[in-house]
């Protein structure tokens, strides 16, 4: 393991001008062959490598990343973590991730700045309140913390929320999920990278996978811009580009890729101490540790691989923000960006063997991949190490489209990704 971070090392480094910090992970060159090659150096790929090494003791592992690690959707999300889902299969998956997040800073010896400030879905109409009660009940039955709030609790916790009787969406109640919150997205990628590197995993950046090496109909490695790399098994975790990459293996997936918008305002004083999802407008918002108001919304209406702004959608999101928090209308926007997300018809991820032997998938997380990183890593590592499903990933196999056992979270929890 690499040098441990501790209060004592900070003190010691402080006394010597912070000149002696070791490199957090090596810049590896690829070897000709590994037991496991993971394509995609985002949170899911790095977590997969870490759990392969840590849980399964498999050290011959490479992570291949075409850019820099954590530079795709891991660096573009709105950092929310939560497990407020409806179906038992989804709760098992996302709560595994949240439980792992709760111990992650200690496990990785890297502060991922998990802040369990809670997440609140605000409801307005009697119909939405019934759905909110149904979701809170389902969450409680599945062993996840959930509280059904009325208007008084919301006004107490969110004094800035629009409360005028003239407002279009009165905050009449909602579901509060106290263990939800935010985590530092870059730190999750860096923490997993550093810990995996410490266990002997090679992290190869600036190396694009251009094809798969096939032998007798099975995948036995990858072609890259740095040459061929052989592998016992290949894991694919390339959110936003799963269809493109898998097309190189002749595999087509039940995915449409869309751009998802996000923006931050200029920093302001602390004024919002929870994550809010507004059912009326579809906008969600939180305040970062730096004071910026971080704003997101639903998918663009047009399928696209363009990682850029889309003015009609930005207008919808921002009009939602000023509807729910009129005071935020005075803030200036500081940055806006877009990430490409892989959307599956039932809004649930694809985890399992690809139709090609030797190839395993972890994709299709839609707008919700960041919160699931630890679980995605555990489950893909299990698949690669054992060649078979973990019981939690079994329902998310590609075969559900053939059998019809879809896990429709857009209908279940109203989370449209």
């Amino acid at each position: 393991m690499t040098a441990r971070y501790s209060a004592l090392t900070i003190l010691r480094q402080g006394l010597t001008g912070h000149k002696g910090w070791p490199q957090a992970w090596r810049k590896a060159r690829p070897k000709p062959a590994y037991d496991f090659v993971i394509v995609g150096g985002g949170g899911h790929g790095l977590a997969t490598a870490y759990y392969l090494a840590r849980t399964h003791g498999r050290r011959s592992v490479a992570v291949i990343e075409k850019g820099w690690i954590g530079g795709g959707n891991t660096g573009r999300n709105t950092t929310a973590v939560r497990s407020n889902y409806f179906y038992p299969e989804s709760v098992a998956l996302y709560d595994l991730a949240l439980r792992l997040y709760e111990g992650l800073s200690r496990e990785l010896n890297f502060n991922v700045m998990l802040s369990q400030r809670g997440i609140l879905n605000v409801a307005h109409t009697p119909g939405q309140m019934e759905i909110a009660a149904r979701l809170a009940n389902a969450m409680q039955l599945n062993g996840v913390d959930a509280e059904l709030w009325g208007p008084d609790e919301i006004r107490k916790r969110l004094p800035l929320i629009s409360q005028s009787l003239d407002s279009r969406y009165l905050p009449n109640g909602g579901v509060f999920h106290p263990r939800g919150g935010t985590a530092r997205h870059d730190a999750v990628a860096w923490g997993y990278a550093r810990a995996a590197d410490g266990l002997g995993v090679d992290i190869v950046e600036n190396c694009e996978v251009t094809g798969f090496v096939m032998q007798n109909g099975a995948c036995v490695g990858v072609e890259t811009t740095l040459g061929e790399i052989r592998a016992g098994a290949v894991g694919v975790a390339v959110a936003g580009h799963s269809s493109r990459l898998m097309a190189k293996a002749g595999v087509r997936l039940p995915i449409h890729s869309y751009t998802l918008q996000a923006m931050v305002s200029e920093p302001t004083k602390p004024c919002l101490d929870t994550v809010v999802l507004h059912l009326g407008t579809g906008t969600y918002v939180s305040q970062s540790d730096k004071g910026e108001i971080l704003i997101g919304g639903g998918l663009d209406r047009v399928p696209s691989y363009g990682q850029r702004g889309n003015p009609p959608m930005q207008e919808i999101i921002l009009s939602g923000l000023t509807e729910m928090f009129p005071a935020f209308g005075q803030l200036k926007l500081m940055r806006q960006w877009g990430g490409v997300v892989d959307v599956v018809p039932d809004s649930s991820p694809l985890i399992g063997p690809a139709p090609v032997p030797g190839l395993y998938l972890n994709c299709g997380w839609g707008t919700g991949g960041f919160k699931a990183i630890p679980a995605g890593g555990v489950l893909l590592a299990h698949l690669l190490a054992n060649g078979s499903h973990h019981e939690i990933s079994r329902p998310f196999d590609l075969d559900r489209f053939r059998t019809g056992r879809l896990i429709d979270e857009a209908a279940g929890s109203g989370i449209a990704h």
């Binding site: 269809s243 097309a247 087509r252 039940p254 047009v302 399928p303 009609p312 489209f401 053939r402 059998t403």
Partner: protein, 85 residues
Amino acid sequence: MLFPCPFCGPRDETEFHYVGEPKPRPEPAGTVGEADWADYLYVNANPRGPAREIWLHLACMDMFVMTRDTATNAVLGAETPGRAS
């Protein structure tokens, strides 16, 4: 963005609804297995670059095929299909 409705001409993108990729429906239904049917229902090419897509113009309810570059969002053409292609 402006999208070209074959009936109304160029209109704002917010008036349009994405329907899906044009693909041949497997026939006859009685002989189609569950894997082929699932392919038809759910699986997409989802290309990066030029793509043929079915769109609905919500204002006039005209359904048409638009060719669009999914990386640059440029519109490359629109056609009213005579028959399902």
